[in-house]
Symmetry: C2
Subunit: 217 residues, 2 copies
């Protein structure tokens, strides 16, 4: 009876793992079922078809992934907010500990969007980006155009994304063991935050014609 949750969950776990490693097309239902110790028909029974199994995996992956919305006490320095947010993003992305396939699957989905992408962005990415945009806006002069603020926020997230998306390239570029050191969250976070604060201050400089307000530190 409660084997329902058991088989179904095991199917999601194994499928997610294989999907994340080989992609949707290259993954066969037989492979998944064998890994899960289930019958071929189990997928049709529990999910309908392969595609709906995949969607279920993606949804499960970013449902498991804790997405915290920070509630800052009034008066919190934007620099501090940025530090916390960047560190949090990096922790999420770099974390190689527990369910690696979940993040990997989301990464794959974002790199080559399928049906599940829009929901993923709206539920998972957008909130973080909104927070980041708000923080960046605090650090920039009030008269900064929206597009510039968005671009600046992109410049920040881009640095975080690199260590997840382009890991294989990074390893090939500077050597595997050298790149391994870059997966230390604190090291990377410090670098990114320093770089970003400097970058934001420079961008701010272009839009504060008269009074020097809004610049970082």
């Amino acid at each position: 009876m409660f084997e329902l949750e058991d088989t179904r969950q095991k199917l999601i776990d194994c499928a997610g793992q294989i999907f994340s490693a080989k992609g949707f097309e290259a993954t066969t239902v037989r492979e998944v079922c064998q890994a899960a110790g289930a019958n071929i028909a189990a997928i049709h029974y529990h999910f309908g078809d392969k595609e709906r199994l995949y969607i279920e995996c993606v949804k499960y992956a970013h449902c498991q992934q804790g997405m915290t919305l920070f509630d800052w006490p009034p008066g919190t320095l934007p620099q501090h907010k940025l530090t916390v947010l960047v560190t949090h993003m990096l922790t999420m992305m770099v974390a190689t500990d527990r369910p690696a396939w979940q993040i990997e699957l989301m990464v794959r989905e974002l790199a080559r969007p399928t049906v599940a992408c829009r929901a993923l962005v709206e539920e998972f990415i957008s909130p973080v980006f909104a927070q980041l945009l708000a923080i960046v806006s605090e650090l920039l002069p009030a008269e900064t155009p929206l597009l510039t603020r968005q671009q600046t926020a992109f410049s920040v997230v881009a640095q975080c994304l690199l260590y997840r998306y382009h890991r294989p390239i990074g390893q090939l570029l500077i050597g595997e063991e050298q790149f391994q050191q870059l997966l230390n969250v604190d090291t990377v976070a410090n670098q990114i935050i320093a770089f970003s604060l400097g970058g934001i201050r420079e961008c701010a400089r272009q839009y504060q014609s008269s009074a020097g307000e809004g610049a970082a530190s």
Copy 2:
């Protein structure tokens, strides 16, 4: 007789286009041959099998892609070098004009490396990264550790990569027409260069204990 080059080239063109759009697994040889107006057996005849056709496409794609090594006259300001290099990288990546599938195929290969990835990085990515690393090193104090310099270079390329790799996400995040404006090379380049110079200067500040040398502008 000269149909050899014709069919073979048409096969590479069509295959590259489809490979770049759907990936290796999801692409069928029948689809490719139909698009190229060739017989199914043509792939076996000209390339041996599907995989070697794919490799040929990747090689052709980044062979076509002009990779210039800049030869700076002595005394050129590193800020200026950075500006030129970043603009050049962006032009390459954002360029939606001529053979879109070639860049797209490289992007796909770098996101999910297959057999062709290592050669691609070594021949195509590494040289650019080396140039960038050299420029960044000029802008940083001499005592800056190698790892920090590499990280800083990563921070710069990360911003460029964003507009190519994460285009669908960007469009979903800030709206398609809004994001379209970001594909203007000059706009983006100015933003990235300003941001990067500020970031580098901030990073430099951490490693120049006594004398103030090496900082940007």
